[in-house]
Symmetry: C2
Subunit: 333 residues, 2 copies
């Protein structure tokens, strides 16, 4: 293996100092045009790449953002990952990917992020304790929560307006003449599921519907499938089912169609997310579209503002989504 090429090597070839080489690779440093050209030519000739590790040590700017993600097999999250990657790499950041296996971000995962001096962390669908946020903040790491929040207001958060969406979904199902509603939730400890449920029930209760059959589908296909089965066992007159995410809606639809129900003639199904698959003709799912692009744009802006010290206090931004009507909800009026 060849000896590593450093700025010192380039300096020798170009006949300048190492600090000049560093300046040549900098945007704002003072270096004459002639010397800069000499240096860049020498660098090209030697195959020199600046060492980001050494630079990070000196500048205390790793240019690395951590993304903590749990359920990458829910198609919603690969889309989120891809879009976060695009925005952040466009701003010159590298992505350190952490696939959390547990509900809650682990101590060693927090330690890894600190050890690598990541400048920020984006938490997509894992839980984060206040203690973990404090530890990250104490180590100068910006934290942005994507579609979740914790109650201590110490971190930036960008959240789809889940409560309001739940309300509107409830209204939409009532307005389209559905009488016997059901709900399939995600895990009870997730703010997304809780808020969607609360919004939904808020609307129903205002119409005198005090409670409806619900099952926890765990935010998974299998969970949606099983939850639909369980619901239909005791509530065969159900005519509409709201699933707290799309992938459970797919599972619910698959259970219902294999059980002989017609979607949406016998029962309507509505999801939440608007993953790419929702548009597939096998599902043609009516769903609530999370404004992922807007949410990611805001999340990245909050993080970059925090990193650059232009932020006074953490913000919590709610962003409105919208209904996407396809073919899985019937207008029964």
């Amino acid at each position: 293996m060849n000896k590593k090429v450093t700025a010192m090597d380039v300096a020798r070839l170009a006949g300048v100092s190492q600090s000049s080489v560093s300046r040549a690779f900098s945007k704002n440093a003072s270096i004459s045009i002639k010397k800069r050209k000499l240096i860049l030519d020498a660098a090209e000739k030697l195959g020199y790449q600046p060492n980001a590790i050494a630079r990070g040590l000196i500048t205390n700017q790793s240019r690395i953002i951590g993304i903590v993600m749990r359920d990458v097999q829910n198609p919603f999250y690969p889309e989120v990952l891809e879009k976060f990657y695009s925005r952040l790499s466009g701003e010159g950041y590298q992505i350190m990917f952490i696939n959390s296996q547990n509900d809650e971000i682990q101590e060693h995962e927090v330690s890894q992020l600190i050890e690598y001096s990541v400048e920020g962390v984006i938490i997509t669908d894992a839980l984060l304790t206040s203690a973990a946020v404090q530890k990250l903040n104490r180590n100068g790491i910006s934290v942005v929560l994507f579609n979740r929040y914790i109650s201590d207001s110490m971190s930036n958060a960008v959240i789809c307006n889940n409560f309001s969406a739940g309300q509107k979904i409830g209204q939409y199902l009532l307005d389209t003449g559905h009488l016997q509603l059901g709900f399939i939730s995600g895990p009870a400890n997730t703010s997304t599921s809780l808020d969607r449920s609360r919004g939904f029930m808020d609307t129903l209760q205002k119409q005198g519907i005090e409670s409806i059959p619900m099952e926890d589908g765990g935010f998974t296909y299998q969970g949606g499938f099983a939850a639909a089965k369980k619901l239909m066992k005791h509530h065969e007159k159900m005519d509409a089912l709201f699933c707290a995410n799309d992938i459970m809606a797919f599972g619910a639809i698959d259970y219902l169609t294999t059980a002989g129900y017609r979607i949406p003639e016998d029962i309507s199904v509505i999801g939440f997310d608007n993953v790419t698959m929702a548009d597939w003709s096998s599902y043609a799912l009516t769903t609530w579209k999370q404004p992922v692009d807007e949410m990611i744009q805001q999340a990245v802006k909050l993080m970059l503002d925090d990193i650059s010290g232009q932020q006074e206090k953490p913000e919590m931004n709610f962003v409105d989504g919208c209904l996407i009507e396809r073919a899985s909800v019937k207008d029964r009026r």
Copy 2:
């Protein structure tokens, strides 16, 4: 923001030298049990985390592996990402995620990997030129190709035995009495699609079938949908369709069912990958299962052997998959 806690701070509190602190956090360094405990207690008290950036500069071991991935919205790849993450983080590595937007890994992406001194790079579904491999190797970076290879034998590769799989799929469709076969390929410049096609045609040609109708579906759902439409326009007697990946098979099935064909009564469809969705009752896809776990295990072993200098020359390992029969191929015998 608090001042960063360093080994020097811990040394002062524990009454030892900075080098002793470093040794306390090392597995094999010489340090007395008493002193180690003193140091770890002081570190805990101060909230000290070793700085991986500084350590990387000294040891020339960043403990970072790059994963270059293109199509994260094909459900096959999030599964691959999750499993690579699990294996590599278990070996103490961090993952730097690169989402390539182009067919071929870009110069700036190679530069990023070099600048951050990643110890290895795994390429999943992007193309890599020989020049790029040479550049990475010249900078001491191990390269492993996942399910692709290039012809210069300079990099490790682990590949599903696509040719053999294509052969067996061909035989299976013939053995189950299908007469009019069709094929939907991926992009022509990908070794996976080429080898699956070659294996398939090898079997058919041995049975006197010289050519069959084919369309390029670009490895996407929409592409599969459109390709199926195009094929059926001119080959309405087709009774079996082999799609070079599952997601195109889903698209093909969705086109066919919306066009009134029954799967598999009117036409059988077989895919390749065995993504989680293949098992969903809406598709119940018969497919060829890529041995992802085995492939990843071998890929990680090759990389770690290369990184630790225990490898003499790059290897190319082919791994056999197997047929998964569900409900999308009819036995017409």
